[in-house]
């Protein structure tokens, strides 16, 4: 891929990532019951080392998780080259910031998502295939 094309490719991926991340944390904080709509049916999540696999388990998990207040301070994003994926457009996103769950102290967190594009004639919908979340101070929390 020529350098110019690559940069355009990255810019497009990052815009999509920023938009997705904004929706994700807003939904997590304010419309928690709708959160799993952002995940693929077979999506997997590892939450502070705990594996949550598939929509049923994800629904259950997010239902039990206390209410949250997320603040995202950093976002990094990369498109995944066609060579690393068979077909769909894929983006890797890493976020970090702070979060306070009801009844718990505030933590710094890191989260990464593998997003895949589901394209319809009118638009592209991004969904989470893989999700990994950890407190930065996980060892001492």
């Amino acid at each position: 891929m020529r350098k110019k094309d690559f940069k355009t490719y990255v810019d497009q991926a990052c815009r999509a990532a920023e938009e997705f991340v904004s929706i994700y944390y807003d939904t997590m904080d304010k419309r928690r019951q709708a959160l799993t709509r952002l995940y693929l049916d077979k999506a997997t999540l590892i939450w502070n080392g705990n594996i949550v696999s598939g929509l049923d388990a994800l629904n259950n998990f997010f239902d039990m998780l206390p209410s949250s207040e997320f603040q995202v301070n950093m976002l990094d994003c990369q498109p995944v080259h066609e060579q690393a994926t068979q077909s769909q457009t894929t983006i890797l996103v890493v976020t970090s910031g702070t979060v306070k769950f009801d009844g718990n102290k505030q933590h710094y967190f890191n989260q990464n998502f593998l997003l895949t594009a589901q394209s319809t004639p009118n638009n592209t919908v991004w969904k989470i295939a893989s999700d990994c979340f950890r407190f930065q101070d996980w060892a001492s929390s």
């Binding site: 690559f6 950093m74 990369q78 995944v80 690393a84 950890r134 930065q136 060892a139």
Partner: protein, 127 residues
Amino acid sequence: MGDKTIWEQIGSSFIQHYYQLFDNDRTQLGAIYVDASCLTWEGRQFQGKAAIVEKLCSLPFQKIQHSITAQDHQPTPDSCIISTVVGQLKADEDPIVGFHQMFLLKNINDAWVCTNDMFRLALHSFG
């Protein structure tokens, strides 16, 4: 606790190898990247094995030591592996600082290489 899954085995093996190379001789890191690899280092993008190795070798410290607090490994729908690391590092005589790094690993010709690498220091947190 049962045996590790195959992706945990591959991921943890890769992680161990990566930080061992990084801490002892960064010039050898080229072997784990390919020409299609991307690195995001503290927000800056580097594309391709050569550019990535150049960046890593030009980092301004003599001594570096990584210590891993936690690692997570997940398979992706297309048989890649995402490995995530949270830990601390010490460069030269600088204070210990937290870091977070994520790797996307792909099997190419029977070898697991890194196609995507994203690194950030956790500058707000102290130990």
